[in-house]
Amino acid sequence: MSASRMVPAIVGVLVAAGLLTTVTLGVRSALASAERRLKDPNAAKPKVAVADHAEEKYCTPRFKQVLERVLHSCGLLEANSRRGCKPADVKSFASINDDDFNELFLPLKHRGAVLKFETGKHELDESAKKLLAERWDARRGARYFFVVGRASSVGDTAKNRALSHRRANSVQFFIKENRKEPDLEKKIGLLWLGEEFAQLPKEFCEWPNSSPSEKCNQDSINRSAFVSWVDCRL
């Protein structure tokens, strides 16, 4: 057989072998390149936000400072510590005067509500319960729920302090009984101010409250517990 007759077979073998070699080298090269990029990625991973609680515009540094002090001092942030803050605590820990304290809560006008009580009473009436349940269920992304019990200036200061404490507790008990949630203690910030600190001015009568049809004055607005979710991260 002449050599020329072998040429087609040689061409076929060379092409097939050449292609196999090329493919094999190409595969190795592609995988080696992928491995290099895997070990040393040149494209930085896009930063993805992490799920967290809400942070609304009213969470100013001043607001958060007071919030943090109160939460720390009232036992919300530490486990197994005492629960709640009495007027003297708030005065000393918040380091803020009455008006400034109330002003901080102004942005919560439509987020929170004022639960009103009968004179000398600490039991929630039906409309207060309904409003409290509504506000509690409208949590959205909030982390903390504030309950600020108060009493009017009528009567004995010590008794009013105790009354405002019972009012704040009534709110907390209602939530505990009606919303079986774990870790409620870590959510609810409980303060009672009696008549001694941060009495609400009459303007708060315009806030959502549990007895809107009743006459509202400085005394009645302070026979109350202010409740609100607070959409701030600490």
């Binding site: 057989m1 002449s2 007759r5 072998m6 040429v7 087609p8 077979a9 061409v11 076929g12 073998v13 060379l14 092409v15 097939a16 072998a17 292609l19 196999l20 493919v23 094999t24 190409g26 595969v27 190795r28 592609a30 995988l31 080696a32 390149s33 992928a34 491995e35 990029r37 895997l38 990625p41 494209a43 993805v48 936000a49 992490v50 799920a51 967290d52 609680h53 809400a54 269920d137 949590r139 959205r140 992304g141 949630e181 774990p182 870790d183 959409d231």
Partner: protein
């Protein structure tokens, strides 16, 4: 049609093989590029040599499909099926060129071998075409390139058969097998005879050519095992408010948690992949609704999927039918997304048409809103990334990079009982 000495059928076969080889390589290189766990553009064009593009949804669907690779549970991404095609086309191209150059001097057995082998890629392409049509519902252009190459090759193979008609003369006995018969100058021209061992040897060679690139691939594939468990965990996995949805099939063997948005296309694709790979029925699923819609999700300043909160509530209201509602929302995602953009009433109407007025009443309930809020707080408590879908095997988060071509390998590594 073609004379006994015609080279055209084999030239056609060579062209078909070259096309198949080219498109097969494009598909393989796309696959290999993804082994760095990053997203890449794909070669997705009917034009050989066209640049990679991000507009390649059909090719991406094919790439991520269960049919794109073999041994997926053993290698991250598996061994791309196109790699076998590349090896086979390389061999057939060489063989076609041999026949084209040899013309009428090629042994009859070689022509018959080419005729048979040349039809094989078309058969495989037919199977893949059927899968694309029935399972994927879309055709990847690169795959179509391989189908066309296979068709042209098969045409060349059939026409090659036809050159045998009327070329019955073979070389005398005693011709050295495999060597073209060199007839005397005055003898009638014909195809030389050869031993049957030659077709067997060619078949073995075809096997070697087909398997070698795949073998090399398996020896050089990067090790991804170390990357699988580097994407975080559920810090507070317990569902303390008993709000999350439970979906467990009878064959469920592995607890998993999914964070899903019913209007998120990636969630739909991921769900389809889990079902397609046969993984989903083996999962004991805890479903957390995580709609990327600012109507209920405070973590976003604008809605990525308007209406997703409403549909998520529908899933919650589905209760024991929650999975059916979720799958319905995936199947009708385009329509529901359009309805969500049009406004809540359009969306609610679409839900009512399928699930009735009771479902709508449930969606509007305060309890449903609170329950959805609890789902979002579960995400917050666990500080998960604000993205969907997310899968946790037990408490181990599956990296996003492992939810497409590396999914089966990842499941096999992190939950081997699922793959048994």
């Amino acid at each position: 049609m073609f004379g006994a000495n015609s080279r055209i059928p084999f030239g056609l076969g060579a062209i078909g093989s070259a096309l198949g080889l080219w498109f097969g390589w494009a598909s393989t290189s796309d696959y290999a590029a993804h082994l760095d766990r990053q997203l890449h553009d794909l070669h997705c064009s009917y034009v050989p040599g066209a640049a990679a593009t991000s507009e390649a949804e059909a090719c991406r669907a094919a790439l991520y499909s269960p049919y794109s690779a073999l041994l997926k549970d053993q290698y991250w991404g598996g061994v791309p099926i196109s790699l076998f095609a590349v090896g086979a086309f390389a061999f057939i191209l060489g063989f076609a060129l041999y026949l084209a150059f040899a013309g009428g001097r090629a042994p009859k057995k070689a022509v018959v071998f080419f005729g048979l082998v040349g039809l094989t890629p078309l058969l495989v392409s037919g199977v893949m075409f059927f899968i694309s049509l029935t399972k994927l519902g879309t055709f990847c252009k690169t795959c179509v390139g391989i189908y066309v190459g296979s068709f042209v090759l098969a045409l060349g193979a059939l026409l090659g058969f036809m050159t045998l008609r009327g070329s019955g003369a073979t070389g005398p006995t005693g011709t050295i097998p495999g060597t073209p018969y060199d007839p005397p100058a005055d003898a009638p021209r014909g195809r030389p005879a050869m031993s049957l061992l030659f077709p067997l040897a060619w078949l073995a060679a075809l096997g070697i050519w087909t398997a070698t690139p795949a073998y090399i691939y398996t020896t050089a594939i990067p090790n991804h095992r170390a990357h699988l468990d580097k994407c975080g965990k559920l810090n507070k996995p317990k569902d303390e408010k008993n709000s999350l949805l439970k979906v467990a099939a009878s064959r469920a063997v592995q607890p998993v948690t999914f964070f899903e948005d019913p209007l998120c296309p990636t969630c739909k694709a991921f769900h389809d992949r889990l079902v397609g790979e046969g993984i989903f029925p083996k999962l004991d699923v805890t479903l957390v609704m995580f709609p990327l819609d600012s109507e209920c999700n405070w973590m976003l300043d604008h809605s990525m999927h308007p209406g997703a909160c409403t549909v998520a509530k529908a899933v919650l209201c589905g209760d024991t039918r929650a999975l059916s509602v979720l799958e319905w929302s995936f199947e009708n995602q385009e329509e529901l997304t359009a309805a969500g953009k049009a406004g809540k009433s359009s969306l609610v109407a679409a839900i009512e048409r399928r699930w009735g007025a009771d479902m709508v009443a449930c969606i509007d309930k305060k309890e449903t809103e609170v329950r959805l809020n609890n789902h979002l707080h579960y995400a917050t408590d666990n500080a998960i990334p604000v993205s969907t879908p997310q899968m946790f095997i037990g408490t181990q988060r599956v990296c996003e990079e492992d939810t497409d071509i590396g999914l089966v390998y990842t499941i096999a590594q992190l939950a081997p009982q699922v793959m048994k």
